[in-house]
Each structure stands twice: as C-alpha cells, then as structure tokens.
Subunit: 123 residues, 4 copies
C-alpha cells in the first residue's frame, strides 16, 4: 500500500476513534455509506449529455471532486476494516481483466461484463 | 498523488487505449459503472447481521476484495478523466469533515450528515 | 392502495413466510436489496448512448423488464414493512413536486433538485 | 396495470410535458435518477441497527415515505418510457422466484441469488 493511502487510512482511524464512531463502522454499514456517496456522484451527471459530463463548469467540478473524495474515504475505511490492501487487490483484479477482455476480441465494443462472459442474463 | 495510484491510473489508461474503450469512458458512464460496482459490494452484505459482516468467510472475503478493487479502478479512472487528484481531494475533504463534526459535539452519535447540518430533511 | 398492489404485497408476504425470510427483511436490509436491484438496472445502460437506451434490442428489454420487476418487488415489500401506502405517498410527493418546480420557471431546464432549491452544493 | 398506476403514469407524463423535460427522460438518465433516490433511502438506514430500522421515529418515517414515493415515481416513469407493464412484469418475476427458491431448500437461509444459483462468484 502506498504511503499516502496509509496516511489517509490512519487519519480516518483517528477521526472515528475520537468521535467514538467505530461502533457504527461495520463493513455492512460502510458499504451503505459508500454507495450513498457513489449516488451523489451519479446525481451530478444524471441529466447531463455525455458531452456535458466531460466538460463540467468549475463549481460543479468542485462538488464532484468532493464526492470522489467521499468515495475514496469510505473505500479506504472499508478496506481497513476488512484488512484488504486496496492497491494489491486492484493490481490483481487488473491482471484478471486484462486476460478476461483480450484487446483483439473486445476492441471498440463495450458490453456488460456478464455479456462477454456469455452467462445467461440474470433474471 | 502517490506513485502507486499513478501507476494504476496509467495501467487503466493503457487498458482502455488498446481496447478502444475511451469512447465509452465519459464521466457520466463511469459514474454508472462505479455505482454498479458499489452495489455488488452492498449485495454481499445485504442479508448479513452487522456482526457477520465483520467476520466474513474466506471465499466471501475474496469476492469482496474484488469488488473493492473494481470500485478503486473506476474511481481512479473517473478522477483521471476529470483531472482530479484523489488524494489531495480526500485530504481537503477530511479537513472539512474534521471541522464539520467536532468530536465534542458528535461523540458516539451517528446521524446522516444532513441531520447534523440541521437542514430540513430532503423531500 | 390499488387491488393489484395489495395482491402483490400479499404474494410477497407469503413468499417470505413460507421461506422463513421475514427475519432478514428489516427495512435496513431491504433498502440494500432494493439499491442492488436498481444498480442491475443501471448496469444495463452504463455504456449505451442516450439514443441506444431508448431503443433496446428485445433480449435486453426482457432483462430490463426483470430488473424493473425486482425493484417493484422490494419497493412493495419495504413499504409493507413500514406501513407506507406507496400510491398515497407518490400522490402527495407529486403535489409537492408540482409546486416546487413551477413549469414557467423550470421549462426545458433540468438540474438537480438541490440546485433549484439553491442550497449550497453538498460538500 | 392497475387504474391507480395508470393515473400516476399519466400525471408524470403531464408533469414532464408541461416542463419540457421529456428530452431528459431517456431510460439511461431515468435509471440514474432512480438509483439516486434509492441511495437517499439507503442513507436513512446506514447507521441504524436492524432493530432501529424497524421502528423509525415519526419524522424519519415521513422522510422515508418521501423517498419510497420518489422511487415509485421514477420506476413508473421508466416503465412508461420502455412500455413495460410493471405489475405484469412483477407477477412473472415472482413466478420465477417461487420456482427458483423452493421453500424446502432455502428455508431460513438467505444468500445472494448468485450463491443459490451456484454460479462462480463474480470476479
């Protein structure tokens, strides 16, 4: 894990400790807090065209930056509670993705992962 | 930004480039992909008690580790597309949170942020 | 509440009863199940253009129909557990929305509700 | 479809028409709005114990009622845009669920659907 992520993790530990919030930070609850933040991100983009979403006005970008930060905060907190090394997990996952979606097979074609895997659509 | 996050960002850039997937990676679309991954995380915890969520069996923890990785992947990708420095944003946000929730005022009391701020509940 | 929604509610009660699943159906857990279904819906649309999303191929539409059904199922179940009359709540909410977004003021202009209300952007 | 849901659908059509908001109501955008509302629901429950979530204080229940209404509103709107009969879809889905989770097999045991189906955990 990178030094900066460790620093952030420790800051979050201390933040929770002095507020006595550890009792609320079960992985279950943190997964809810994380998706609530992800939804605040989505909300910023819901009525925008794809093009508008690439080119946000400064005040909207500032708000989006806060939402991205909130997601990282809960992600680091959750990984800490579950003893997961986020960066190691991401590297491992990318190695899987690189094999799973061979460039020659999927170029320019974005489907849901489930569709590439030709599982039956979930009912 | 940390060296490791830069390395991950660059790996994701290359992953998208060779697959010609940049065309799909608008911030709007990435916000959708991110919340879909956050929901896969939530799904692992939805029927668990808080206690069970702290103590996952190994195969479930392995699956959860993949979901956390997926969230980090889309978070880093989205931040890249919007030129946001995730770690700087998180530090700035934590400074806000530390002022916004003074330990003496909120100790042991978890409410929604909106409730502390005594805004009217959103309708 | 409409007869058909009552019929669905009763079918869901029976479904949970014979499986002894009531113990899992706390409002907290149901809110998680509901958002997980909403995310499966989002996943179908994440890489589509707005235009493509209006004109789904038949097999994708069939899958989307199942997701919409899942959302309704958990919504009805949750409302039942909280003794909420969904249709009455929706009518009350639409009366609020009609006053809150006067046609003359918002015509052709979609922002986030929070932006119309000119609250400060949430941090 | 029930008369009351048709009435709500028609009210939403008129609501969008007079505001010229149909242009924003692509299925893609509506799926985002729907999950954002689902997340507002989740947010009410994120720090509650399962027991607390069953027994909400009146003002919180009133707020939750509004969130449930918002979800129904976007669900009905989305079904309208895709020509889906929500109640027929839910009945069809419940018939599938009743076969898929035989009471004798799953009694008292809540897992993720994917786990019952003994698919490999999604990577």
């Amino acid at each position: 894990m990178s030094d900066e992520l460790i620093k952030l993790r420790d800051r979050l530990r201390e933040f929770a400790r002095v507020r006595d919030w550890d009792q609320f930070h079960t992985p279950k609850n943190l997964s809810m807090a994380l998706i609530a933040e992800a939804a605040e991100l989505v909300e910023h983009f819901q009525w925008l065209t794809p093009e508008q979403s690439r080119d946000l006005p400064p005040e909207k970008l500032a708000a989006v930056r806060h939402e991205l930060a909130d997601i990282l905060v809960y992600l680091v907190r959750m990984a800490d509670k579950l003893n997961v090394d986020l960066l190691a997990a991401a590297e491992k996952k990318m190695a899987i993705n690189e094999r799973r979606y061979p460039a020659g097979k999927v170029r320019g074609d974005a489907r849901r992962a489930a569709e590439y895997d030709s599982r039956a659509p979930s009912e």
